[in-house]
């Protein structure tokens, strides 16, 4: 599917997927670096910053799915129809 063919909802979905993916990548990198370090601060970094970013990324992904599903329900999207 060409990006140019996507309607507004599809572009929104793509953007949200990218943003949630980037947030998740950041969180995963924080968690990865924390695992290299055997120190209480590594745990704090893992449990606060890492978990926060991962939860944020997952929440945004789920939110984008919900948003897309409701948009599809109103018939304003052809995203799934073109698959």
């Amino acid at each position: 599917m060409n990006v140019a063919e996507m309607n507004v909802n599809e572009l929104k979905m793509t953007k949200r997927l990218r943003v949630s993916g980037c947030i998740l990548l950041l969180g995963l990198l924080v968690e990865a670096f924390s695992l290299f370090w055997n120190h209480p601060l590594a745990f704090i970094a893992f449990a606060t910053l890492g978990m926060f970013l991962i939860l944020g990324g997952v929440a945004l992904y789920l939110f984008s799915l919900l948003g897309y599903t409701s948009a599809e329900g109103t018939g304003s999207s052809s995203y799934h129809g073109k698959v």
Partner: protein
Amino acid sequence: MPTTAVFVVLAITIAIVAVVVIKPEITAARGGKILAFVGLFIFPGLVSVLGFENHVERSKQTTFCLSCHVMEPYGKSLHVDDASYIPAAHFQNGRVPRDQACYTCHTDYTIFYGGIKSKIRGLHHIYVQYIGTAQNPIRLYHPYNNRECLHCHEGSRSFEQGVVHTADPQTMIDIKSNKLSCTSSGCHDTIHNIPKLDQVKYWEAPK
């Protein structure tokens, strides 16, 4: 789970998320949707659970406890060349695992073990290490419980048939019920003894 396995799952997750970020249009297909769901929902959760479990395991290590400045003398006391120093005798003779020496005797003390209070204390220890001021000298929150000694010594011949332990039948009952402290009743009372650390000889583990 070993750290290597956690890294493998992490690497797979990063790869999937990177694919979705670089080519989000793949999610238009059914396979892409499943891949995105696995990579953006299932695997990050799995990585977080495995990583947390890995951090919990690491926190048992002696090096983890001794990474705080205030704990350094306690680590030093494990190398005192004097058998009357209880932690040193246990550490040097392998009565406790050397890589988990602190955790073995102070199980209820860390962030991850014991009750809610222990967990709050563990976080408080991190707070005072980096933001507040640690007590000097540091003290136990409550008297040392014989339970930590009896984890290993209960049932052992030297403990159950020890001359002092069996001299009076009440002694053993009091030890096991924590009424008579192992460490502060005048019997095994040389513990870390931090104030005297500059007056003792040290043992070097053979390499």
